[in-house]
């Protein structure tokens, strides 16, 4: 008897799951979704659907539809495809600047609530007028935004690979804001642009390229961006090998500790690395340079513009202290040169 009850339970459980069945061939796999608004405030959704042909070549289909909500716009696309839109494999979400400036909260809301969609994709702000245009380019050139993003982060440091769910977590913390990657079209080529910084859910503006790199150094401990100081004779160019940034509170002041190891990649004639003392001098020059830049960056965004992209307010919140009107901070930079690339070893 027990056996039959057990079997019955199993069957009940299984048939509950049965309506979840979806044949793979009935799915339209969406890899890129773009969202725009028109003049009347309606959403325009543009999707890139990937399908393979028989020889296993990737081919993409573009579809577009409007609706008065995101859900509606995406639903309306279904009228144009024979398959069901499948958002679980979404890699890239591009929103237009207009949407970003008026707030991304309802977009985030949609993706959190839709149980089909995963939140492990990357959010971009379109520097072009519409996201649709960028997607057309993506589809035409068959580029993968994901790969571009990864290599930008890895080798340049001007972009970061934070998924939407990581962004959401960051926004939902008290006193913490996000930066989002941007993309645009330059002379018929897609490129990854500077970071766009947000306050709460609304985009405020773009950083410069150097600032984007600085943000990523401070925020995600990225490795491998290149630092440059001096001109011609005094030129020093180094590549960051390891990077450890810590934020802390000390005497009601924010403490920024930066520990870096760098490799020298280029030096001018006047720079000598022949003895330990001289290497130390070079390290000092670099430390001062980095310190200046960090201080500039923090002053500009954290203090003047008041965006919490480095999460200073969150530091105070966690210690249950009030965030001071004029926040003060200390920067300690420690740089050591790991590899000079010299022909002769100095020791």
């Amino acid at each position: 008897m027990k056996k039959y009850i057990f079997a019955l339970l199993v069957v009940v459980v299984m048939f509950n799951a049965f309506d979840n069945l979806k044949e793979i061939t009935n799915l339209a796999i969406v890899s890129v979704l773009g969202l725009d608004v028109d003049e009347e405030g309606n959403y325009i959704a543009t999707v890139e659907i990937i399908a393979g042909d028989k020889e296993n070549n990737k081919k993409t289909i573009l579809e577009k539809a409007t609706g008065n909500s995101i859900q509606e716009a995406i639903r309306n696309i279904i009228d144009k495809t024979p398959q069901r839109l499948y958002l679980a494999h979404l890699e890239t979400l591009i929103v237009s600047e207009d949407i970003a400036k008026s707030g991304i909260d309802n977009i985030v809301d949609f993706f959190i609530r839709d149980n089909d969609a995963s939140n492990n994709f990357y959010l971009f702000v379109s520097k072009e007028k519409t996201a649709g245009k960028v997607i057309e380019k993506i589809s035409e050139q068959e580029v993968s935004m994901l790969e571009m993003l990864k290599s930008s982060e890895k080798y340049r440091g001007n972009a970061n690979t934070k998924t939407l769910s990581q962004c959401i977590q960051q926004i939902l913390k008290v006193g913490s804001d996000i930066c989002v990657n941007s993309c645009g079209i330059n002379e018929d080529e897609i490129y990854i642009g500077e970071m766009a910084y947000f306050k709460e859910w609304k985009m405020q503006g773009y950083m410069s390229k150097d600032e984007s790199i600085m943000y990523n150094i401070l925020d995600k401990n990225v490795v491998s961006p290149i630092l440059k100081t001096g001109e011609k004779e005094n030129l020093i160019i180094v590549e960051i090998v390891t990077n450890d940034v810590k934020f802390g509170l000390k005497d009601n002041k924010v403490n920024i500790d930066i520990n870096m190891e760098v490799n020298i990649s280029e030096v001018g004639k006047a720079i000598s690395l022949e003895s330990k003392e001289k290497v130390r001098e070079v390290e000092n020059i670099l430390e001062n340079e980095v310190k200046d830049r960090v201080e500039d960056f923090v002053r500009k965004y954290q203090i003047e513009r008041g965006v919490q992209i480095l999460g200073f307010e969150n530091l105070y919140y966690r210690k249950k202290k009030e965030y001071p009107q004029n926040v003060e901070f200390n920067t300690n930079v420690d740089i050591s040169i790991a590899n000079q690339g010299g022909v002769v070893n100095i020791w």
């Binding site: 199993v10 459980v13 299984m14 048939f15 509950n16 799951a17 049965f18 979840n20 069945l21 979806k22 044949e23 793979i24 061939t25 799915l27 796999i29 890899s31 990937i50 399908a51 393979g52 042909d53 028989k54 296993n56 990737k58 499948y86 679980a88 494999h89 890699e91 995963s118």
Partner: protein, 489 residues
């Protein structure tokens, strides 16, 4: 005519191969009864008949004794002593009222009836084939001999390896009609007495008309056990059997079956192969891990494929998903139907390949490879990825030698497929619970089948589960099998 002979003649009147012969001298008559098929006629005429003739007539040429008295002495029923005078080593006087005479006749004995006395003389024809390489448990470095149908030859193969008087051979007859010789073997001071008793009791309890193969006994011993996994090891290899004997297990041999039954069996015995003993222990670890992986593969791959492409597509990497999706585009069936079709086609092919003779077997494999391969894909009936799934499943299953294990894996593969096709990965989770529950509630004899994992025996698992301990370092036997723990004693 002799009454005993009359009686035998009456009982065997419809068996034309039972042959009667009378050797007579004066009024004394000696009767020979034998089965044509079973005896070696040369032995009968050269040794049995001649010996009897000599017993009866030799006295004529004997000049020293008084002829008459000698004949009389010889022919006096009490004094004719066949046991001493026939030139064959195996001769025995039997009591006809207690024993079935036909058992001896059909075992290749010559029955000699003289007045009220019955003797049997062995004149067996050697019907067994010569020792060949094992056909199932093949090994790279192990010995090349394997058991044959003749139980004595099998015994010899084992005795060759273990020359110890403590290795017991206890023979008994099972089967009311077949009277098959079955024997249990164990090493007296290693095997646990309770295990031996358990098995002996099982054998004694068997009441059946015939035992034709060792599998019959297997089923009697597994009686209470409805697990799909075999709880006895069947092997053709005398070296493996000797290894098990030294561990303290009990062997059952059955005449006419080229397999030995080893009791008890644990799950890892089926995963690990005899070859592991003959290879370097360090490298065996990788081999064993591969075997465990392929066990999982052969059970799980079709179910995993089904649940991934019908329920849990989000877990597949995007590129693979696109590739699978484009491959499946031309297939008109749902994935479940496609998988069922292919697994069925494959099982049919496997079964027919096993049954077919060599000549048609070749044709079969070509046709099968075509059907299951290129043609089915280009006809758009199945997708290439399904072929890969079937191939991985099959190849992984080939690592195991015991047919019962392969079939058990197949059974679980189907169960997993059913669950996966109903609710994807969740279903596989449910099936895993059932699988593990069924496995750990299996017993071989009275010992847990999943030993040494459940119940956990850490020393034994460290020694012999994924790794194989080096032979000089392995100084103890398994606690579960023996009370005599120190090796070398």
């Amino acid at each position: 005519m002799n009454k005993i002979v009359e009686d035998i003649k009456e009982r065997a009147k419809n068996s034309s191969d039972v042959f009667f012969r009378e050797v007579a001298y004066k009024d004394k008559r000696v009767y020979l009864i034998l089965s044509d098929a079973m005896v070696n006629t040369e032995v009968v005429s050269n040794f049995v008949v001649r010996s009897i003739n000599e017993i009866l007539r030799n006295t004529q040429t004997d000049k020293e004794l008084d002829l008459k008295s000698k004949i009389e002495k010889r022919l006096n029923g009490d004094n004719i002593n066949f046991e001493n005078e026939i030139a064959i080593s195996k001769i025995k006087k039997i009591d006809i009222s207690k024993e079935d005479i036909f058992k001896y006749i059909f075992s290749g004995f010559v029955v000699i009836v003289y007045e009220q006395e019955v003797y049997i003389v062995e004149a067996k024809q050697n019907n067994s084939r010569s020792i060949m390489e094992p056909s199932t448990d093949s090994s790279v470095r192990g010995s090349r001999d394997s058991f044959v149908e003749n139980i004595m030859q099998n015994l010899a193969l084992i005795r060759n390896r273990i020359k110890n008087e403590k290795l017991l051979y206890k023979e008994q007859e099972i089967g009311r009609r077949t009277k098959t010789k079955c024997a249990i073997m164990y090493i007296e001071d290693i095997a646990k007495p309770e295990l031996v008793n358990f098995i002996e009791e099982k054998l004694n309890g068997i009441d059946i008309d015939g035992i034709l193969d060792v599998n019959y006994l297997q089923e009697f011993i597994e009686k209470e056990n409805d697990s799909s996994f075999p709880v006895t090891i069947t092997t053709q290899r005398p070296d493996l059997v000797s290894y098990y004997l030294l561990e303290g297990r009990v062997i059952i041999l059955v005449n006419n079956s080229p397999y030995a039954l080893v009791l008890p069996a644990f799950f890892d015995d089926f995963i690990n192969s005899v070859d592991d003993l003959y290879q370097k222990s360090k490298n065996v670890t990788i081999t064993r891990i591969i075997r465990y992986i392929s066990m999982l593969l052969t059970i799980l791959v079709p179910a995993l494929y089904l649940s991934l492409i019908t329920f849990d597509q989000e877990t597949i990497p995007t590129k693979l998903l696109i590739s699978i999706s484009s491959q499946r585009e031309s297939v008109p069936f749902p994935a479940v139907v496609e998988a069922t079709m292919m697994m069925l086609a494959f099982e049919i092919l496997k079964e027919s390949d096993m049954r077919a003779n060599n000549i048609s077997g070749n044709t079969l494999s070509i046709v099968g490879a075509l059907i299951l391969g290129e043609a089915a894909v280009s006809a758009g009936i199945v997708s290439p990825i399904m072929i890969i799934v079937v191939a991985i499943t099959t190849i992984s299953g080939m690592l195991f030698s015991d047919i019962n294990v392969i079939n058990a894996f197949r059974r679980w593969r189907i169960i997993f497929m059913i669950f996966a096709s109903l609710c994807g990965l969740v279903g596989m989770g449910i099936a895993t619970v059932i699988f593990v529950a069924s496995l750990v509630s299996t017993y071989s004899t009275y010992l847990p089948f999943t030993y040494p994992v459940a119940p956990l025996d850490i020393t034994e698992s460290m020694k012999n589960l994924f790794t194989r301990i080096r032979i000089p370092k392995d100084k103890t036997r398994q606690k579960i099998l023996t009370n005599n723990l120190t090796k070398g004693r």
